[in-house]
Symmetry: C2
Subunit: 363 residues, 2 copies
């Protein structure tokens, strides 16, 4: 019998927390009052267990449940179901962290390439990497490809689609991906350094599969995808189906539940196969703290059995004047993603893009 | 050019709300500062528009954005991306409601059978319906099938798997579904009234497809599935792939504190094809208000172009003594789901199940 440990933060009074924790253990396993569980095997091997309860301050308690891995199996949707299915509907509960038995984690697989795979695809040594985005949506494939070429000639390591790009009439998926990938490859040949283009994949399972196949055929090495938007298990299946692709995970639709972003983006996206994880950097237009960002980067990169490290990609309203500060904060195993601040340069786009590349290289 | 209207609730000061609303419009469309959008076509046809701003009290404002349906297309994941992708990460924003142009809604499809389809499958007239759940997990297929038989002989209309049942070693999917479906069919033949058995489907797209096929082959008419858990677009694709199945949507992993449950479970799950929607009833062990539950039932049932009405299924810690109150509250187009309170009867399970059926029939 193997058990995983799930850590929750629960709003409660001290008098009530033990009862609340026991109720959570039932909710996340058998979903009936304990009296209704008569089979001693189910009581002993299936019902979740309260392992720890301790005050966190501010009227909250840290509660660790032991959840039987027999109830979750090694499948993603069911794992999430047992971790945070019903209790996602209870507003006093947040999911903070999960410790999986190594054998369960290993079966989930993790990144196919991870930080090393991404560095190898770019041909970069140990330095920090640069990334930007193709925007705004509404642009034609030719306009986006031209933008991609400019960024690539400036030496930016990775140029991703805006995550809002899908299969719209003004930039159909196949035309856009073919044009941008060609631009990235031509510019790479011209500059002598590799720029990866990462098309955005979005849709139901069949569309995602078709998009991934098309991208691979065109020589694309890495794709952008939002695991919470397409479904965590759907994402995981895509990763397993396309071992030759690298996956850059986008956090879109990921802020909807009371789940710690450190665990969700840093640890769980990595476990499901993200080679790099985009997240909202502190001090931008999103609300994460410096401490959360540091924790997230650590979760993505730390040693974890056979699971390869994933590259943290802080993003969201970042500017060039923060490059030194961010490299100081994150170290070299990072990819800085600056989008709008480059595009805001207008006619000076190429120049500002080179400035970005040089600042990161020289830091 | 068609536009959808998305209504958000934003925490803000009066002085700041206009700027905040404009920033949200950019975030959910072009994702760059407006200065970086030079093409007048993109400014006019792609950038989202602030349509209304009005105070709600409590430091919040109701903001309606017009979002170009050209950016969303008729595809589910991309629609959600544009509605609540990035701004799900901004804690001051809640998504409250969405009005789609009728042509976009019609292409999403809605329920294949809806309330009428479900009534026809059961052979029930206009009365309220009854449902219960097979628990606890850890039980064997034979035990679950025996429970299913008892419930069916008592005349309960629908017996669903606990949503925690997946493909676990102690109750593998195929064995469980075959046994429970057989029990439901035999009991229905014996009692002369139809009881539907709804197996729980969970997993990645390939597993879901395989499970749905197996269920159909065994004569299953309706399946249980949690759209947020498997992914909204993955759910929608399954609905389209299996027009002969009815779908009972479970709210697991849907506790998006910042999406209105009225919209998500009542309106959006219906739009994606749920014939019936389970939701946490007021006064149970979850936190929805009576007003939210009434709104949710109304959203599921109200006239909506060609989109069939879906059946509301209030659940979550309900007891027999609430039947009259709940039928008064929801009317007859409802299915009452009582799980744990029946199982808690132990040896008196059959008796209490019949009592449930009679109470609903006699109300």
């Amino acid at each position: 019998m193997a058990w995983l440990s799930a850590t929750y933060s629960i709003a409660s009074t001290a008098a009530d927390i033990r009862r609340r924790a026991e109720a959570l253990a039932l909710e996340q396993s058998v979903e009936v009052p304990l009296e209704a569980v008569v089979d001693p095997r189910i009581r002993g091997e299936v019902v979740a267990r309260v392992q720890e309860v301790e005050p966190e301050g501010d009227g909250r308690f840290r509660v660790v449940l032991g959840i039987a891995t027999e109830t979750t199996g090694p499948e993603v949707a069911q794992l999430v179901n047992m971790l945070f299915g019903n209790c996602s509907l209870q507003e006093d509960v947040r999911l903070m962290d999960v410790d999986l038995p190594p054998s369960v984690a290993a079966r989930m697989g993790g990144p196919g390439g991870g930080i090393e795979g991404l560095r190898a695809a770019i041909g970069a040594g140990r330095r920090a990497l640069t990334a930007t985005a193709l925007k705004p949506q509404g642009s034609s494939p030719a306009e986006l490809a031209e933008l991609c070429r400019t960024f690539a000639l400036a030496g930016i390591d990775l140029v991703k689609d805006d995550h809002g790009l899908a299969d719209q009439r003004y930039a159909p998926f196949e035309q856009r991906v073919a044009a941008c990938q060609r631009a990235a490859q031509e510019a790479s040949a011209q500059s002598g350094r590799t720029t990866l283009y990462a098309p955005s994949l979005v849709g139901g399972p069949t569309a995602l599969h078709r998009q991934a196949e098309f991208a691979l055929e065109r020589g694309v090495r890495i794709v952008l995808i939002a695991p919470m938007l397409v479904g965590l298990a759907t994402f995981h299946e895509l990763v397993e189906t396309f071992p030759d692709l690298l996956f850059l995970a986008h956090p879109a639709f990921g802020g909807t539940s009371r789940i710690s972003p450190v665990w969700l983006f840093g640890r769980f996206f990595r476990l499901l196969g993200a080679d790099a994880v985009i997240f909202p950097n502190h001090g931008g237009r999103f609300s994460y703290s410096a401490q959360e960002c540091a924790g997230l980067a650590e979760a993505a990169r730390c040693p974890w059995g056979s699971i390869r490290p994933a590259l943290p990609v802080p993003a969201g309203g970042m500017t060039l004047d923060r490059v030194d500060e961010l490299l100081e904060f994150y170290g070299d195993d990072v990819m800085l993603l600056i989008g709008g601040a480059l595009l805001g340069a207008g006619m000076r786009l190429a120049e500002r893009s080179r400035e970005f590349v040089e600042k990161v290289a020289g830091a």
